[in-house]
Subunit: 197 residues, 2 copies
């Protein structure tokens, strides 16, 4: 409908998650009509990130450095390793602000049906890390989904074989959540995992 | 929180309309983790559009050509000129599929408080177009807001002086709309603009 360059921009914008044809059109026209500087800046940021950002060689989170700022931070407890599925999970835990250890990012979960096995999740690298002997505790913070639980179970077996203590973050009713609105699965889990006080 | 390149990407993504910090983070991580090809394509499309897209020299809509495909189309009725506020309005009217004339895009509306006067809307160019004598009817399709109405009124005065007939698109209850849910202003307008049948 528009000219080829604008059509291509609209179609390229649809690679963004949650952006359909209407939003893409709105974004493209907004950038071209009102914010060409922003569009230029975005183009440069995208090129620079795609070219520069790789994975931390210790924890596999996204970074353009050799090692990420958390692995590089001398004040972080290197003996604790929290295993998460994505870099976004690292951010969420960092924002909670209490965990002082380091991370290991799987970039996914075990999913044989999609052909995602242990080597795709860097579990060999994790094994090497555990074999070095510096890590005393592995905290499994994969998602409480079937695949996440399976991944956690697989890693816990490996960690135990390497003589490292393993824990799983607690699952149950979130703080400030009202029982009335909690789903049945979570409630059932909260009951079966109840703790003596 | 992340490394500088990723932080810059997240911040640059916020130039997109409707994208806040959370969406920007989700978009940046999605692109870096799962769709680097898409990110590359988007970067190229942005650069190409910013560099190449300008305005049609007849109707001022966005295009990378000298004249847009509508102005260039020999089958469009050049004697009708529909005045709209944005290129998105052109698209909306084109999708309705009945209008066969050409357009004139203001890229905004008169707004003295924001310092937007007639010359910012290309009204001198419109005047020249009207003076050429090819145009027989100007259809005002600016938005039914205070500024849109003021802009329509201003253009209608100019067009009348150039001896061109002027019309305004109809405003009222939309087809398929239920009276119960129509706002009072629209209803009042629908009554005052009622037509004999």
């Amino acid at each position: 409908m528009f000219s080829p360059l604008i059509d291509e921009l609209m179609s390229a914008l649809r690679c963004l998650p949650g952006v359909g044809p209407k939003s893409a059109q709105r974004m493209a026209l907004h950038l071209l009509e009102r914010d060409r500087e922003g569009a230029d800046r975005l183009a440069k940021a995208l090129s620079a990130s795609v070219a520069g950002v790789g994975e931390c060689n210790r924890c596999r989170t996204l970074t353009e450095q050799h090692q990420c700022s958390i692995c590089n931070n001398q004040r972080r407890t290197k003996s604790m390793l929290c295993v998460v599925e994505t870099p976004a999970d690292v951010l969420a835990i960092e924002q909670a602000g209490t965990y002082q250890g380091t991370y290991f990012v799987l970039h996914g979960h075990l999913s044989p049906i999609d052909g995602i096995g242990p080597s795709d999740l860097g579990l060999d690298q994790l094994q090497t890390l555990l074999a070095e002997g510096d890590i005393e505790e592995v905290i499994l913070a994969t998602n409480p989904t079937i695949e996440g639980e399976a991944t956690a179970h697989y890693i816990s077996e490996r960690a135990k074989r390497a003589d490292v203590s393993v824990s799983r973050i607690a699952h149950g009713v979130p703080l400030g959540g009202e029982l009335e609105f909690i789903d049945g699965g979570t409630l059932a889990h909260a009951f079966s995992s109840r703790q003596k006080i």
